[in-house]
């Protein structure tokens, strides 16, 4: 297994910002932020060129800790703010951090339209299957039957498959992994950042304190183990008999495709008008 150097993360943290951070012990948010930082470090992006933009939620608290151009917006709206930043400064690398609720409930409209435009934003959807920040109400990805504070008898809602939603809406890089598969997460994030067009990496994340507790999932290591066992690469998933697929899901890159990118198309329009 590859070694994970720790000093890198320290270098990217804001030293003026007061720690400790807001996350609970055992939360996956820190692991995911670490993977993002290491991916950016490997790509050797100038910090001045990186914008990290988030909505509202536990996961959306990431930007404040890191030394980039950072923007913590409104619940669900990160992609729309990011579209403004990217359209005005297309040379910037814009990363959007959003939760399952932030991206697909309140921000669902912005999500599908950012996918459709194929604008060059890299979106990390931290999917913990719950509204963490507000204390555990069900989200569009809370598994049917699961307990949330607003579904005390078990949730009757069908769920969104976020990657399928992104594929259907036209995103050109779509991948899923988990906080347990942190090296893979780092690699997917890196590829997503290098991808020209709208890229999304859904990262399954453990919320032991709220979702885990409500659904008797055990502690953080137990939830990690569950991710290790349930998230399978496509080949392995396909080998399973239908009854074995219960509770399992696919991790991997679902799509990586070149398609005209929105800010480039806009730049072409501007250039053609100025030539006239």
């Amino acid at each position: 297994m590859a070694k994970i150097p720790q000093k890198i993360i320290h270098n990217y943290l804001r030293h003026r910002k007061q720690f400790p951070h807001v996350w609970c012990p055992g939360c996956s948010n820190g692991i995911i932020l670490g993977a993002i930082i290491r991916a950016i470090d490997e790509l050797k992006y100038e910090r001045d060129d990186v914008a990290m933009i988030s909505g509202i939620g536990c996961s959306s608290r990431m930007p404040v800790y890191v030394d980039f151009n950072t923007l913590h917006t409104l619940h669900g709206r990160a992609l729309a703010y990011a579209t403004g930043v990217k359209m005005f400064k297309p040379e910037m690398k814009v990363i959007v951090i959003t939760g399952d609720g932030d991206a697909t409930a309140i921000g669902g409209n912005h999500f599908i339209h950012a996918c459709r435009r194929n604008i060059d934003l890299t979106t990390i959807v931290v999917n913990n299957n719950i509204y963490g920040m507000t204390g555990g109400q069900y989200s569009p990805t809370t598994p049917t039957g699961d307990i949330a504070t607003t579904s005390p008898y078990g949730n009757i809602d069908p769920v969104f498959d976020i990657c399928k939603l992104a594929l259907g809406a036209g995103a050109t890089f779509v991948a899923r992994t988990t906080a347990y598969h942190v090296i893979e997460a780092q690699s997917f994030i890196k590829q997503a950042l290098e991808h020209k067009g709208f890229s999304i990496v859904e990262i399954m994340s453990a919320c032991p304190v709220i979702y885990g507790r409500l659904n008797k999932k055990g502690d953080a290591p137990a939830m990690m183990r569950e991710m290790k066992e349930n998230a399978l690469p496509l080949e392995k998933f396909d080998e399973l008999a239908p009854e074995e697929k219960q509770g399992k899901y696919i991790r991997g890159i679902f799509k990586q495709e070149i398609f005209p990118e929105y800010t480039e198309k806009y730049a072409e329009l501007v250039a053609s008008l100025q030539r006239e």
Binding site: R47, I53, L74, R77, A80, V85, M87, F88
Partner: protein
């Protein structure tokens, strides 16, 4: 770049629509980013800018809804753009959370609200003045507003420039109210001499990034504002924040922030408030009217004067902050104040607030406010105001 453009159009007489004047004014002020969602009666602003901005290297983008529109505008402004969106009542309601964010995060931007009849979908192609209070109190939380309201096509041009200037100067969201009739009517306009138009740009920081603070304690002065991608790497949040922009829940830091949001407006009332006073010197009856209704009011003043009635007009060009001092000084001594408006009494509520403080037990009996209200989609006519004047004994 903006200046070159300006010289070309130097002082033309043109037939122009109100919405077109807003688009032209915005471009003159240096607008280089527009994001929005179409809605009658504001749509021409987006249509014109979709043709003009790309030609000048600016950005036009039609978003998926108004929430996305204001969000993209704020994002672009943080990246350094002069950014604006335009809408009408229903869209303005959707934008309010974003408007509050812009005020909280002290990010310059302009929202044009072309008022139409309401509530709800209401009367899409008829005028109203029913968002006067929404533009002030609509967003949650306690933050003051800067809201301008022209009454002609020419003034739509001028006040759009002023709105963008004030947004940059005070680092806040400035609202330009107009109404359906102003927006769609055409008038001959002699555009002002562009050499004399003052364009305000934000001050860029010159200090090293380590010293940079995104906010300043002192509300009296303009503070430098860095943009994303320029080496300052600051943080912006809608949470209560300290001077660096980092979230805080320390009472003393929140106090500083809230005070600054308020005081940067209240310290600059003279700069912000603009009024027009017409035949007020010897008037015993005064009309207080804004926007499209003030034109009928002015006509009524002229008619009344012909029959020897001493009537004058006070018109706010700045609705918020409300021109308390002008109302106090110019209306406080009048026997009768007539407030015509296309709503159920929003401006008159403010007039009563201010005058209520002056009137005492003695003079209360001899003074009164006459309200002329209309909410059926039609304009208030000069004759209707004249009839109110005739009521005055």
């Amino acid at each position: 770049m903006a200046k070159k453009e300006i010289k070309k159009n130097h002082q033309e007489m043109t037939l122009m629509q109100g919405n077109e004047a807003i688009a032209r004014g915005a471009l003159t002020a240096g607008l280089n980013f527009y994001a929005g969602y179409p809605i009658t009666p504001s749509t021409e602003i987006a249509e014109i800018l979709s043709a003009e901005l790309p030609k000048r290297g600016g950005v036009f983008i039609q978003m998926e809804d108004e929430i996305a529109g204001i969000s993209a505008v704020i994002g672009a402004s943080l990246a350094g753009a002069k950014a604006m969106t335009a809408t009408s009542g229903p869209g303005f309601s959707l934008m309010l959370e974003g408007i509050g964010f812009a005020k909280m995060a002290e990010t310059p931007c302009v929202v044009v609200n072309v008022m139409r009849g309401g509530p709800s979908t209401g009367l899409p192609t008829s005028p109203s003045q029913s968002d006067i209070m929404q533009s002030r109190w609509g967003n949650h939380g306690d933050a003051p507003a800067i809201v301008l309201y022209p009454n002609s096509v020419k003034e739509s041009f001028e006040l759009t420039i002023r709105a963008i200037n004030l947004a940059e100067k005070y680092r806040t969201c400035v609202v330009l109210l107009t109404d359906e009739v102003l927006a769609h009517m055409r008038e001959m306009v002699e555009l002002p001499d562009f050499k004399n138009i003052r364009i305000i740009d934000r001050i860029k920081p010159t200090i090293p990034p380590e010293w940079y603070r995104h906010y300043d304690e002192n509300p009296k002065y303009r503070t430098p504002l860095a943009s994303y991608g320029e080496g300052y790497r600051f943080h912006v949040t809608g949470l209560a924040h300290d001077l660096y922009g980092f979230p805080t829940n320390k009472a003393d830091e929140i106090e500083i922030m809230m005070k600054r949001l308020r005081k940067k407006i209240t310290h600059h009332i003279k700069d912000l408030v603009q009024i027009e006073s017409f035949r007020m010197e010897d008037a015993t009856t005064a009309i207080f009217a804004a926007g499209i209704t003030s034109r009928a009011a002015k006509a009524a003043v002229k008619l009344a004067r012909k029959s020897g009635k001493r009537v004058g007009l006070l018109r706010p060009l700045t609705i918020w902050p409300f021109p308390d001092e002008a109302v106090r000084k110019l209306l406080g001594s009048k026997k009768t104040v007539i407030v015509p408006e296309l709503n159920q009494g929003q401006l008159s509520l403010e007039v009563k607030r201010v005058l209520g403080g002056i009137w005492n037990y003695e003079n209360r009996k001899t003074r009164k406010i006459i309200e002329v209200r209309k909410t059926n989609g039609e304009l208030i006519t000069p004759v209707e105001i004249l009839n109110a004047i005739k009521e005055v004994k």
